[in-house]
Symmetry: C2
Subunit: 212 residues, 2 copies
């Protein structure tokens, strides 16, 4: 990269975790800009000027600002193709993307901080809010598990890390935070294979300078 990209993130933001993993897998250096989600720093005017969605992450690179973790991951995979994080075959690519989207669309946004805060504001108690998050994750990961049933490991789609793994690992981190029992041996094995790699370990929440 001509300039060093700046990743706007937060240690426990699972969407930021995805982008950190891809940057590391591609061997790309980056600078961190942290925004504390629980303190609402992602809604500060300075950050909203960069990303009007007020969500993390955003990647400043080549004089531009990219948002939405999957769009950033696809960008990095297109511009820095080694190692590739999508297969070459169109059907296989669609299956990897579908797995990532099953997490990015149907699990994470339904259990993120913003939605849980809205549930609390509607008068739900902590037990109800936690059950909402856990049920969302359990149903979603049941589907993810089915999406890779019959396939080979150790990763989600065979012997190569793909964007499916990049999205799975942060979601399993979230699952543990919400006390979800991990009843999916195949998913947990893919996570273990990923966490054996320095790229994933360095991207983990607890390895970030802003970890609490």
């Amino acid at each position: 990269m001509a300039d060093t990209p700046i990743l706007h993130g937060y240690y426990r933001s699972s969407a930021s975790y995805r982008v950190r993993a891809v940057l590391n897998l591609k061997g790309l250096g980056y600078a961190d800009a942290f925004h504390h989600l629980r303190k609402g720093e992602q809604r500060a005017p300075g950050y909203l000027a960069l990303n009007p969605q007020g969500l993390l992450p955003a990647l400043e690179t080549e004089g531009d600002v990219l948002t939405q973790s999957l769009a950033i991951c696809e960008y990095l995979d297109e511009v820095y193709p080694t190692p590739p994080l999508l297969p070459a075959d169109p059907v296989a690519r669609a299956k990897v993307r579908a797995f990532a989207l099953a997490i990015a669309c149907d699990i994470h946004p339904v259990q993120n901080l913003k939605v849980l805060a809205r549930l609390r504001a509607l008068g739900l108690d902590e037990a109800q809010v936690s059950l909402w998050a856990a049920t969302t994750i359990e149903d979603g990961l049941d589907a993810c598990d089915a999406l890779i049933a019959g396939g080979r490991g150790p990763y989600c789609f065979g012997d190569t890390v793909t964007l499916a793994d990049v999205f799975l690992v942060p979601q399993l981190y979230n699952a543990r935070r919400f006390g979800v029992a991990l009843r999916w041996p195949r998913l947990v094995a893919a996570e273990a294979a990923c966490l054996a790699m320095p790229a994933f370990r360095a991207a983990a929440p607890d390895a970030q300078p802003d970890a609490e």
Copy 2:
């Protein structure tokens, strides 16, 4: 296509609407298989065997089943590249994808039937449920509007239809269903430009054989 693909959808499913628009834009014929969302037909065993997520749409093609509307759209754009629905430049592609994902991740899954049913089951009344959906859509479309601020029309990203438009048009259809006042002239203009095209008009919910 060697075989005629089968699109599993529902007339008012906005994710199905996206895929119908892309199939039409590419000039691809397809057969419909309808599953009535409000009757829960997407949870029938026969459909779950095709798509374990129990969500619409799914596209049966080339002996395989593709799921997740964005993954299907990307597949169709890769295999049938004319007309292209993503720009050639990686940064421009990332911006189009980010707009589509701002809808696919941060609006639609938070206001879909499944989530609204969960809110009702928690005891929220219809006014609260409708406000939840409307607020989700308003906040999300505010962000989408900002993502294309300063750009040229008539479409979201200039003079060519992209996946951004394909995701916008069904979301504006949903916005109207929930009584949202459309305060985004730029988005409404992009929608009008799309609906001037037969490909979008033929994809609209009211044009489907299962429309009620």
